[in-house]
Subunit: 402 residues, 2 copies
């Protein structure tokens, strides 16, 4: 749905909407049981919620397309993820809490080890976050002609770099060779980059020369690799589009970044799902729309650990009644994409969805699982349509036309 | 899905993909039994494959739209058939093995009978293919100012004409009046055709005058009718888009033509399905993606012969184990469109699909038929999404975004 169209129909009221994303929720059947992780998990509360919901399956982007978490969340928030593509550098920078202006250029950074001119470890032995912070502090002293460089630690060997100045272009190449045994690459302008890109690439290279000097005597992290140079895309905010105060309760930088990008405020929270529910309860009156992000279903799927993913789902299920008891008018529970333990990675399979609202038809689905949702009343659709469905159920959309 | 987008995500591996098209597979229920042709056929092997698959129904173009075989196959190969429309003339020319350059203009030709200035038989009594070949040879002597005319026999009264020269336009009208009792039409420029079209139409007319002279004393084929003037559309090749070697095992000119148009190589094959399986086995190592086209389900549907269509389906089913035993990573079995015997022609009804892959969820569908597929896990979708689904299941698509 076109965002302007949807925005035009929007009305305000005092309804509460909750989008609970269990990252990488969808799975594939275990070869023994024929049941997916979600179908294996004992989930009385999710099942009860499914019974009070209309269910379906959602494609983040479309049939066959496996999304990264960035585009998958953009879709869940109602944005066409291909049109509103967000560069990796921007997600990194926002994730560590750097404010990005329209002119700023952000990149993802890895500390790495260089020996005899070639990269021998792209992650510098996964240095500690503390070591990372110390090195970033050391690099903060670098000054460039007409541009300020801001480098901040993320986690382990990862950091974010932001260059601030006029006329910076994102049409430049990565310096990460993506494998060891190669020297760090020189940054170059892309073919259609023009003069700004030439100037920006030269500037990145002189910054990296300075970095090499400053880190010369460090070990193992004696250099950085940069990738995903990007500027802030022009994304209309959820708050403006739908006149909703939106709060994000997410613990991982990436998801906090996407939430901020679409205009959500970040709600303080501890790391566990129980902490997140504490935060939700506390912030309940402050927002209309809540995005609650649970990460570990995806992590255990990525590990290929079927049973551990099952346990994560059961952990969420056990605490779900606390969320339900807040009485959200609309509750959507789904994944951003599937992460089947069988594939140990993201996949293209559509995500199960329950949409709990007193204003939906019932579909006879009495358990929350991929097969059950496949028979759900919402059918199979694309994630970008979830936002209008949630808004409709919150009675926040006027009718179109007389 | 946008082709560039899909192409960008593509990775190579050594998986094998097979698309088996039973032309016009879908049907309508027999008035006595309430079962379609596919549901009536005894198909233990297709049923077993369905049990190891995820199933669904696919629209070639969209609800209510009855496609010709050209656009329907374009969709199955992943091309938006409305955007990538292929002119009938091009399909005819490619079908008889004429190489087409970007400047060449192709048309479909019927030999016909003209008496007292009006067409009395649009098919010249369905002359034999041999007679057709003799006449084409006779016409080869015609020479035109600045343009070469190449006419080749197809089957019975059908032939293909290609004009080669600079500045030829496809924006010209047919000369086939489409009914008897009318004179052959003069070729005219279409309103928006411009000077090139005027010049091309004049050239076609002078060619047809020459043809009339050369065939003056022939009977019954003393003239030709031309239609579907078209130039080669600019279609990116499957091979380039997805880094796959693609081989087509098809016996009818039309399907061989579409396959060549999208960059497939033609694999030599005899006419029967068993011959096609021989060809598939022999070429198994030479290609990554195979298009196997079985024609007779459509032919018998067009005849309105329910039982004969059932028998064709059973013929394919009996030999399916030979295909399965090759161990394709991804096998899709479907139709390009429906050809219900009840309608004795193409129809708009979506085609049953089974997608056999170890990486798909199961949907409990245990037989291959329209009603069963209607309850399948893939739901109802458009054929253009089959290619991304097949590529995903072959693990040939990277994820989009981080």
């Amino acid at each position: 749905m076109d965002l302007k169209f949807l925005s035009m129909l929007t009305v305000e009221n005092d309804s509460k909407l909750v989008l609970l994303v269990l990252d990488g929720l969808g799975g594939l059947p275990h070869t023994d049981s024929g049941l997916t992780e979600l179908e294996t998990a004992v989930t009385p509360n999710l099942d009860a919620a499914a019974g009070e919901s209309i269910c379906g399956l959602i494609h983040a982007i479309g049939p066959g397309i496996t999304p990264g978490s960035g585009p998958a969340h953009m879709a869940l928030f109602g944005y066409d993820p291909v049109r509103f593509e967000v560069g990796r550098g921007v997600l990194s920078a926002l994730g560590v809490g750097i404010e990005l202006g329209r002119d700023d250029l952000a990149a993802r950074v890895n500390f790495c080890t260089v020996e005899d001119g070639v990269v021998t470890d792209r992650r510098a032995g996964r240095i500690s976050s503390e070591e990372n912070a110390r090195l970033c502090e050391k690099l903060a002293g670098i000054s460039l002609e007409g541009v300020r460089a801001d480098i901040r630690p993320e986690k382990e060997h990862r950091a974010a770099l932001v260059l601030r100045g006029a006329g910076l272009s994102e049409l430049i190449t990565d310096t990460d060779p993506q494998r060891t045994g190669q020297p760090p690459l020189r940054c170059e302008a892309l073919p259609d980059g023009g003069e700004d890109a030439e100037r920006t690439a030269a500037l990145v290279n002189s910054y990296l020369d300075e970095v090499a000097g400053v880190l010369r005597d460090e070990h193992p992290a004696n250099m950085i690799l940069t990738r995903g140079f990007a500027r802030m895309p022009d994304i209309p905010h959820i708050t403006d589009l739908y006149s909703m105060r939106a709060g994000a309760i997410a613990t991982y930088p990436m998801y906090r970044a996407v939430a901020r990008l679409v205009g959500m405020e970040l709600v303080d929270t501890g790391p566990s799902f129980s902490d997140q529910l504490d935060a939700l309860e506390e912030a309940w009156l402050d927002y209309d729309y809540f995005f609650v992000h649970y990460k570990y279903t995806d992590s255990r799927g990525e590990d290929g650990d079927f049973d551990a993913k099952v346990a994560c789902i059961e952990e969420v299920d056990a605490l779900l009644p606390r969320l339900i008891s807040l009485g959200p008018d609309v509750l959507a529970v789904t994944g951003d994409h599937s992460t089947p333990a069988l594939l140990a990675g993201h996949s293209w399979h559509p995500s199960p969805l329950l949409l709990r609202s007193r204003w939906e038809r019932r579909d006879g689905v009495e358990s929350f699982g991929e097969s059950a949702c496949n028979r759900g009343g919402l059918g199979i659709f694309t994630a970008v349509d979830l936002m209008p469905l949630m808004l409709a159920n919150a009675q926040r959309l006027n009718k179109f036309g007389a």
